[in-house]
């Protein structure tokens, strides 16, 4: 009796309730979507920081207010730096599609220079504020300001490190499939940071001056 059951089980087609074979995935085919989901999670981080700034942005603790601290022409220059770096990265992607390695490297370098100018201007602005005593410890407004704007600046800085790394990669291995994929991800990252900056200059700097 026992043996008969075993035999029956062996000979019968074992039912499968799940996908046995991994169907074909081209290497890196899911990277763009995965990276996009990472960007969305990053977006949530910034949303929370914006919410914090929205709640605490008016608490000056009798300290300096946005009107005493912000220099709108400088912010306008900074904004144009980031916007220009966005379009030059776009040009890098266009030359990448045509496979022109030299032009791609030049556009990446130009983008990195604009990004560096952005970080430099922002750091000098921070240094100026801290020199005037407007440190993150001064008031809740300044704590949330430095956290929000600093986090964005940190993202741009890491983007620059990434960009230099990719320029070295492209110089060493050329425009291979993997490098194209990486440059595409950095492109999304870079444009995404520009989108976040729209929120920063509108809600922090411009609205700050209106408070």
């Amino acid at each position: 009796m026992n043996t008969r059951i075993t035999i029956a089980q062996d000979s019968a087609e074992v039912p499968v309730f799940y996908l046995v074979d991994e169907h074909e995935h081209a290497e890196g085919a899911s990277t763009p979507l995965g990276f996009w989901i990472y960007l969305m999670s990053d977006c949530l981080i910034f949303a929370v920081l914006f919410a914090i700034f929205g709640v605490l942005g008016g608490n000056y603790a009798a300290g300096p207010s946005p009107k005493d601290l912000f220099d709108l022409p400088l912010v306008a220059v900074n904004t144009s730096m980031l916007l220009l770096s966005s379009i030059t990265y776009g040009f890098a992607m266009l030359t990448l599609e045509k496979g022109r390695i030299g032009a791609t490297q030049i556009w990446l370098a130009v983008t990195a220079l604009f990004g560096l100018a952005f970080v430099g201007i922002e750091l000098s602005e921070f240094a100026h504020m801290i020199h005037e005593g407007a440190t993150p410890q001064r008031s809740a407004f300044l704590s949330s300001f430095f956290t929000l704007v600093g986090t964005h600046g940190l993202h741009v800085s890491f983007g620059l490190v990434w960009m230099v790394t990719l320029m070295v990669q492209v110089a060493q291995h050329g425009l291979i499939e993997a490098n194209r994929r990486r440059l595409m991800c950095l492109s999304m990252f870079w444009h995404f940071l520009d989108v976040i900056w729209i929120g920063v200059f509108t809600f922090v700097y411009l609205m700050g001056m209106l408070r």
Partner: protein, 123 residues
Amino acid sequence: MSADTHVVHADHAAGHGHDSLRSYLIGFGLSVVLTAIPFWLVMSGVLDSRKATALTIMVFAAAQIVVHMIFFLHMSARSENGWTMMALIFTLVIVGITLSGSLWVMYHLNVNMMPGHAMSQMP
């Protein structure tokens, strides 16, 4: 007729490239305008009402974010079979709940915790 087909063919051969250059340039132009106007509004103080200025620059910011999404990030309902759009919509819902919820709750907390209010209740 032959010129027409030639143009179509050239466009197809150049493929994505031509379209993209135009899309980047349009996006850049729109962004410059959408950035310059809010800065001008605030720096010159053209609008008398602060509330009106604030609302206007918020509308400009929203418009510019959409411009960046379409022309720089190349968002469309079709990319990745619509999954990027789904992820974006989901994120926007969460962001909306987080922002409006925080601001709403904390505003009312602030109003009810005002020192003046507390003092008036004191004997």
